[in-house]
Symmetry: C2
Subunit: 293 residues, 2 copies
């Protein structure tokens, strides 16, 4: 089978053998934002044509290609959901010469009944869930996801807009003056994480990043790391307050995963880190539930 | 005496009679950011020359003119501080033909020892404190101030970066797509305020403004008001958790004050609103402590 992670800014495709081994892969720009309406079949054929010519007949797509801005909208599937439920909810799309299906995103509601959504992460989580017993997984990023995994399924999850708020606040408020990019400052990051555990609230804590500098208690070159620690610390406090987990399974790019691991350590939580390259394995698990392998 | 509130973007001057009545006033652009280094005396004379020519000899300045970016830096004065302490900490600046002094800003530390600062608001608060018994005052805005007033003095205060975070998040994140300016939507604002009182944390609640819209449970035209309620609600929750006040004295421009009054009502707190035009009265109180009137 062929698995494709087709996101907003990139397309990653995998030729996957029946046992799950990745025989070939490609990674290119050409995210869905570059594809004109009606041109998704051509764009897909352009990317994976050689593998189709070599005999592949089944293609499973995940990511934003299944969103309202993508090829066809694959409606969100309600949690709990694992490979079987997700496979049953995949959406077929017309394509000459191969069976092509879209993986749906997932939806859930928090304790207050407010909806949450993910699209793309469900495929990584399917792969992670099959490797772990019940677990709390954290996928840090622009929109960080915290997911409760139970019996190979995604039982529940919450999103925190941490990465995007960090970018907006560090570039578009008074803190921008002192938040230019530079080397990580681990001690300042740790101060920010610890600060997040104190009373006062995030909106007050943010102003402290300015006043500490004004009072010569935080160097200009430390402010960005302090702010990063503050926001990640608030995310972790809120996520752990909801779940009361003693261990977190962390899936992210190396640099960001290291920051979250340190922040979780400060919060007194055990951490296991995982290779973030999980999409092909997740697509294979869903493909198996479809009877494709 | 002459009182001047000289901020970042504007200059407001008051000719104040001995009893405190404002005999004349002017309000113009020409904030400190428009004044080249070394040109503050000329800029001041240009604004209030006619009043000097008419016999005024004492000028008291407050606001960002006393900051590092202003005329001369007037160091922050530690709380508690009232008219007497502030008068004693004013800074003289050289000026031909009149005695000119700068009002210092105030500083305090929160329960965790993190510093906080204000510059300009102290003058309004001095005026408010003389009219009230002990009170908790809220001055909403870009950097909202919550000040505990005791015995005519500012005993303590905290800053929340609410207005600036609202601007950054509503313009520079995924929420910008649905947060265009439009008429206030009071019901959506109230939903945001109530949401702030639920578990999950601000970074999670922010993402809910997107998912509620995605799930057709919040209209696009409601998103901006919902976001405003969410942030103001978080500010109020944090400020009240610190102080446990049952009543708040609100000082702000009409539109913003109305939003805060509604959010405080939802939070179950009594509100008194005050005319925000307090600077001249505050400058007069400090001038009286200087023996000027």
């Amino acid at each position: 089978m062929i698995g494709v992670d087709w996101g907003t800014t990139s397309l990653r495709a995998y030729r996957i053998e029946a046992g799950g081994a990745v025989a070939d892969r490609l990674d290119r720009p050409g995210g869905i934002l570059t594809v004109p309406a009606g041109c998704f079949p051509d764009a897909l054929r352009e990317a994976i044509g050689p593998w189709l010519a070599a005999g592949e007949t089944r293609v499973l797509l995940c990511g934003m290609v299944g969103s309202r801005q993508g090829w066809v909208e694959a409606p969100y599937l309600r949690c709990p959901a694992g490979p079987a439920e997700i496979a049953a909810a995949t959406i077929p799309v017309p394509f000459d010469g191969a069976e092509v299906r879209l993986v749906p995103g997932l939806t859930t509601e928090d304790a207050s009944g407010i909806p949450d959504v993910m699209r793309g992460e469900e495929t990584k989580l399917v792969a992670l869930a099959t490797r772990l017993d019940d677990a709390l997984a954290c996928l840090p990023g622009t929109h960080s996801k915290w997911a409760r995994l139970e019996s190979d399924r995604v039982a529940h999850f919450t999103t925190h807009m941490t990465g995007e708020v960090f970018a907006a606040v560090s570039q578009h408020t008074i803190l921008a003056r002192t938040s230019a990019e530079g080397p990580e400052r681990p001690e300042a990051f740790a101060r920010g994480v610890r600060r997040a555990g104190q009373p006062g609230g995030l909106l007050h804590h943010l102003f402290g990043a300015r006043t500490l500098h004004l009072m010569d208690r935080l160097e200009q070159a430390e402010t960005r790391s302090y702010l990063s620690g503050l926001l990640i610390g608030h995310e972790i406090s809120a996520a752990l307050a909801e779940t009361r987990a003693a261990q977190v399974d962390l899936v992210g790019a190396a640099g960001l995963a290291a920051l979250y691991a340190e922040a979780l350590r400060i919060a007194g939580v055990a951490v296991r880190t995982h290779d973030p390259d999980l999409v092909a394995a997740g697509l294979h698990h869903i493909g198996r539930s479809l009877g494709w392998t």
